[in-house]
């Protein structure tokens, strides 16, 4: 038996991660600062640069009603309020939502490589959205509703197929998951290509889903996406306990008091909802849902109660940063930027997984 003093002595020797795990507040505050920095930089920088002080001034005046002396031209205010702010906020919401969905998928499938992109959830949502574009509906609200509904159905359908087919026993082994995700993703890509072929006037819109990006952001679109993503993310966070239970597998989760079938269904639905709402507003943007939860887990450990909100913060900052880079490079698709960061990350994870314990 180890004495209490012995436990304390070994605790002193734990590494950086274990130390940070006890200081989630530090990581959280750092994340918030990072997000604020991303927000201000994302609004200030662009083809027309606006001084950070002016950016803060405009935001303070217009959002908080502060009595700030106007030192900027009227165009700056228009650029900030009508173009950049909705765009940066959309990027934040989408990045946060994809990160939460990624963390939930990884926890449910017990696989660090699961994310909305790899699982085909995002492609399913894109196909659903593309089909909605093909259906001639004249009322704008109806069309918007249809778009979101079909994106959600597409996401849910894709994830259910991949989930069912890739499972061997209680887990989804790496190879099986990746291959199933690839096969289903290819089929969905074919569907998207077909939708583009049939689209006529809608081609541009469907093409924009494929590329992914925030140039079409508006307050109106944000007003639909933000509540959906916020609802799904919060509801997932409230089920952090179930995700924690799944760490040891479904049977152990059941022994720890988790109603596995029910929780799995709810979490898959919520994560699909977050993905679909993100895809409907920004198209296909990969890897943020993979990178953000993974980096956070390295810092604070696998406790979903910490991983989910911190991954949301990091995902939001990452997405704003990626969008900024995309804008500064002359409006290249943001998915290209996230892929350049994310793909090597994914490959590194895969190599580590092969060298390590999971297979």
């Amino acid at each position: 038996m180890t004495s209490g003093a012995g436990i304390l002595a070994t605790r002193r020797g734990v590494g950086l991660r274990a130390a940070l795990a006890r200081r989630p507040v530090v990581v959280g505050v750092t994340g918030l600062v990072l997000l604020l920095f991303a927000l201000v930089t994302g609004i200030a920088a662009g083809s027309v640069a606006i001084a950070p002080a002016d950016t803060l001034g405009i935001l303070g005046r217009r959002l908080l009603g502060l009595d700030v002396a106007v030192t900027w031209p009227a165009t700056a205010e228009t650029i900030v309020m009508d173009l950049r702010l909705p765009r940066v906020l959309t990027a934040m919401v989408v990045g946060g939502g994809l990160a939460v969905a990624g963390a939930a998928f990884q926890g449910l499938l017990r696989n660090p490589l699961a994310d909305p992109y790899v699982l085909g959830t995002a492609s399913g949502a894109a196909l659903g959205a593309a089909i909605a574009v093909l259906i001639p509906v004249r009322t704008l609200i109806l069309q918007f509703g249809l778009l979101h509904a079909l994106a959600f159905l597409g996401a849910l359908g894709a994830v259910l197929v991949v989930y069912r087919l890739s499972r061997v026993g209680a887990t989804a082994p790496m190879t099986s998951l990746l291959l199933t995700g690839y096969a289903v993703g290819s089929l969905l890509a074919a569907g998207l290509a077909m939708a583009m072929y049939l689209s006529g006037a809608g081609l541009r819109q469907i093409f924009s889903y494929l590329l992914g990006g925030f140039e079409a952001s508006s307050w109106g679109r944000l007003a639909v996406a933000a509540p959906l993503i916020a609802f799904a993310s919060l509801a997932i966070l409230l089920r952090a306990r179930s995700l924690n239970g799944m760490l040891l597998g479904e049977e152990a989760a059941a022994h720890l008091g988790v109603d596995v079938r029910r929780e799995r269904a709810i979490l898959l639905t919520l994560a699909s909802l977050a993905t679909a709402a993100a895809v409907a507003v920004s198209g296909l943007i990969g890897f943020v849902g993979l990178v953000a939860p993974h980096v956070v887990r390295l810092l604070v450990g696998p406790n979903a109660r910490l991983v989910l909100p911190l991954a949301a913060l990091l995902g939001a900052s990452l997405m704003v940063g990626a969008d900024l880079v995309a804008r500064l490079l002359g409006e290249i698709p943001v998915g290209v930027v996230t892929a350049v960061i994310g793909a090597p990350f994914f490959l590194a994870l895969l190599r580590r997984a092969h060298a390590g314990y999971e297979l």
Partner: protein, 246 residues
């Protein structure tokens, strides 16, 4: 504490457990033995509420098991799981803390009482020297002990184990058996364990339940259950082999 009445369980039409009736009283220490395929693990899964019997009833601490939700079961019965594959780097204390899931606040998580229970379980099982390490890098025996600590942290009146000594060397096997005895004697924990090793079972458990082809064929003190002709019948081995160590 645990009561099975005429329980039959079938997998794909084949009965894995047939008309099993048994009662384990509060504070008992019982080992379930039997050859491979006798229905030992099935029995544990029924007791843990993972398998619903086709016929018969199961009671846990006075309530019908099928009327309890998973959380209520987890507060009454802790199971030491088979060695799982951990998908993410997880420290030993994070694994042990999972034992508090049925008790912790659903939103806020662990409270001070939960942390105290985790620390107590770590000390009780003697895994303090492993704190801070990634549970995936431990030896099988060490991982087994960490999972046992997790189940102890669950603080349930019934502890169920499936082959708890399978990855352990002899010294650790005896340590685990002593620990189970201690939990049973000091805390009054009811212990139900599936064991392959008949000598360990006979030495450390006052009551054995022998299963064969899905039926309870003997239930009682080791000397009675491990009678020579029964060992020959059920296990198909020379009884001297078992008796020498018992």
């Amino acid at each position: 504490m645990i009561r099975l009445d005429g329980v039959t369980v079938a997998y794909h039409g084949r009965a894995a457990l047939q008309d099993a009736t048994l009662h384990v009283a509060r504070g008992e220490r019982v080992a379930v033995i039997g050859p491979n395929g006798a229905g030992k693990s099935t029995l544990l899964r029924v007791v843990a509420g993972l398998l619903r019997p086709v016929t018969g009833t199961v009671e846990l601490a006075g309530d019908r098991l099928d009327r309890l939700d998973r959380e209520a079961i987890a507060r009454r019965l802790a199971v030491v799981p088979q060695l799982p594959i951990l998908p993410f780097a997880t420290t030993v204390e994070e694994v042990v803390a999972l034992g508090r899931l049925p008790h912790e606040h659903p939103v806020r998580g662990m409270r001070p009482g939960d942390r105290a229970a985790v620390a107590a379980a770590i000390e009780r099982v003697g895994v303090g020297h492993l704190l801070g390490r990634d549970a995936r890098e431990l030896s099988l025996g060490e991982r087994q002990l960490v999972l046992l600590a997790m189940a102890v942290a669950q603080d349930a009146p019934v502890l169920v184990l499936d082959e708890p000594t399978v990855h352990l060397d002899l010294r650790h096997q005896i340590e685990v058996m002593d620990l189970l005895g201690d939990l049973n004697a000091r805390d009054g924990t009811t212990v139900l364990a599936v064991l392959h090793d008949l000598r360990l079972a006979a030495h450390f458990f006052p009551r054995l339940i022998l299963l064969d082809r899905g039926r309870v064929v003997a239930d009682g003190a080791p000397a009675e259950v491990l009678a020579a002709e029964r060992i020959r019948d059920v296990f198909g081995v020379d009884p001297a082999f078992v008796r020498a160590g018992a």
